[in-house]
């Protein structure tokens, strides 16, 4: 652009950039504070008042305590299992349903869609759902965290829309060559919809990673708890005593603080490190969602 900017425009740009820098600081600073505090020495941190600009007396004591906590490790293991098994169930059911309901040859797809969409507007509620899960014997099983949310209706609709957008001629030519619907789905539709599948994987995956409530109401044994529920005990309910190990009782109060910060980092850093690479898929997903289904 060779057009010279007017004074007003330059002032506008200046204020805008300043405002944006402020927004960035406000967003990132709490996370940085947590990171600094997790690396700090407990005694110094307790004595410190105000903002942190660097770790106080760099130490990894808190991280040692976090990794020596058996429940953080079992929590990670359980969460990984739930994410993996949950994704298999989610993707299988969602793509089967989305494919069948995207076929025009299916005469009854309208009433079946209605049957499915109605559940977006109305639900039986928390208590009947809880009694059902208990009633069918899923209580205290990790599957109780997977089956009740096996299909997200919203995701099903997104996937159906994506499948509908694939030209019918591809399916027709495969059918002429004798392919059945299962072959069409697995050999043509899914390979052509990998970006959509990626979005679904991320949506469902992040959902499983963050879930804690159903674990709280459906699980009894602490060794089955996913990471988020362990985090809740440590961060919200202040249970840090079983992480102290060989730390002297006099120091425990001081370390308890830094342990919490270290726990946050241990549980959050993996996601924050991979998310910039996945960002474009998330954004794409929101775009698909914005288009009428």
């Amino acid at each position: 652009m060779s057009i010279r900017k007017s004074l007003g425009d330059r002032i506008f740009d200046c204020f805008n950039a300043l405002f944006m820098i402020m927004i960035m600081i406000v967003t990132i600073y709490p996370l940085l504070y947590v990171a600094f505090a997790s690396l700090s020495d407990g005694v110094q941190l307790m004595a410190h008042v105000g903002a942190l600009y660097k770790p106080l007396g760099l130490t990894l004591t808190a991280y040692k305590a976090v990794f020596s906590n058996i429940y953080i490790l079992t929590g990670y293991r359980n969460t990984l299992f739930i994410v993996a098994a949950g994704l298999v169930v989610n993707l299988a059911l969602t793509s089967l349903g989305a494919y069948a309901l995207s076929r025009k040859s299916l005469k009854f797809r309208k009433p079946i869609m209605l049957f499915i969409i109605f559940t977006m507007y109305f639900s039986g509620g928390l208590i009947p759902g809880y009694l059902l899960v208990k009633g069918i014997g899923l209580y205290n099983s990790l599957w109780a965290l997977i089956f009740p949310g096996a299909i997200s209706t919203f995701n099903l609709i997104l996937m159906r829309t994506a499948f509908q957008a694939i030209p019918a001629s591809l399916e027709e030519s495969a059918k002429i060559d004798g392919a059945g619907d299962f072959t069409v789905l697995f050999r043509i539709i899914i390979p052509l919809s990998l970006p959509t599948i990626a979005v679904m994987t991320l949506y469902y995956g992040v959902g499983h990673w963050n879930a804690w409530f159903s674990a709280m109401i459906y699980l009894r044994d602490k060794v089955k708890y996913p990471l988020q529920l362990i985090l809740r005990e440590i961060l919200i309910q202040n249970e840090t005593t079983n992480m102290m190990g060989d730390i002297d009782t006099t120091d425990q109060g001081n370390v308890a603080e830094t342990i919490k910060y270290a726990t946050i980092i241990v549980a959050t850093l993996p996601i924050l490190c991979i998310y910039p690479f996945l960002q474009k898929y998330f954004v794409k997903g929101t775009m698909i969602g914005a288009i009428k289904g």
Partner: protein, 318 residues
């Protein structure tokens, strides 16, 4: 009589033809129906069975007797709730939290998207986006853990308040602050992510409009107010209507992570009340009634919101 019978048989006939055309459809599309079996089974078991289970709201349910064996009590639980102490508290808290979120949380991503759109330096723009999207990926438990730490008596927020002459208190124990903290932390977490949909809408605005405006001597601020904002107004209207449809629906997860008996009076919403009554105090029927009341109200609000947005813009959620 004859007429009725004729009508009756016509009804039977059409029902027969629906059944037979369904059987024919199954014959033609066997593979598709096989695919649908697990899907329909899922919806029947995990979505429709709880709707059936919701009849315990009209019964005095005890786990020993089961849903069918428990005695009917009619609308007793609904009456108890609506005439009780908790009705006004939970409804008012639910509506207020939604309303504050509508007033402060709804415009925030719009403003950020408009300002972000004015950043013409792409690496800078991408840096802002990456950073402001970040809190969206931090799990709710961790967000609430951070809120608890920062607002604690010895937390960093108190350090600043003391600097300005306030007294140290545990901020999460003060009922008058609960909603502010709840809404503000929600904006902090979601504002960046919320811009995506508006940035998408902005990117579809015709660039010629901006050129025309520049030729007419319109500055950046004028372009923002007279081209960009009107260009995304339909998106704003739809999202606003849909948001209003869920005004009675405040999720309980963040509430029950943050609230405590000290703040129930401003924090307890319908869904958190259902959770507490049902799963902590085990009054299954009473809390199922409260939940059903909420579901029915929600149903009408969401359905009418979707209907209005369809009217307004010939676009709808689905």
């Amino acid at each position: 009589m004859g007429q009725t019978r004729a009508l009756h048989s016509a009804g039977n006939k059409s029902r027969m033809s629906v059944v037979s055309s369904f059987i024919k459809d199954v014959g033609c599309n066997r593979a598709l129906y096989i695919m649908l079996v697990p899907v329909i089974l899922y919806y029947a078991v995990f979505r429709y069975a709880p709707m059936y289970g919701a009849i315990i709201a009209f019964k005095d349910f005890s786990p020993g007797k089961g849903i069918l064996g428990s005695p009917w009590v009619g609308l007793t639980h609904f009456k108890d709730f609506i005439t009780g102490y908790y009705f006004s508290r939970t409804v008012i808290n639910t509506v207020l939290i939604s309303l504050y979120d509508l007033i402060f949380g709804f415009p925030a991503p719009i403003i950020l998207a408009l300002m972000l759109n004015e950043i013409k330096n792409n690496p800078f723009k991408r840096a802002i986006q990456t950073i402001t999207y970040m809190p969206h990926f931090v799990s709710l438990v961790v967000i609430c853990g951070i809120i608890m730490k920062f607002t604690a008596t010895d937390g960093v927020i108190n350090d600043f308040l003391v600097f300005f002459g306030a007294e140290r208190t545990s901020l999460m124990q003060r009922p008058e602050l609960f909603r502010t903290i709840f809404i503000a932390s929600g904006i902090w977490q979601q504002v960046g992510w919320g811009t995506i949909i508006y940035l998408a809408a902005i990117s579809s605005i015709d660039m010629e409009l901006y050129e025309a405006c520049t030729i007419d001597g319109g500055g950046r601020l004028r372009q923002l107010l007279h081209i960009t904002l009107p260009g995304i107004s339909s998106t704003i209207v739809i999202l606003l209507i849909l948001r209003m449809g869920s005004i009675m629906n405040v999720g309980f997860e963040k509430i029950i992570l943050l609230y405590s008996p000290a703040t129930y009076q401003t924090a307890d919403v319908i869904s958190s009340f259902v959770y507490r009554k049902g799963l902590q105090e085990f009054s299954f029927s009473y809390s199922a009634a409260v939940g059903l009341f909420n579901s029915v109200v929600d149903f009408f609000l969401v359905a009418s919101a979707n209907w209005i947005s369809r009217k307004v813009n010939e676009t709808s959620l689905w």
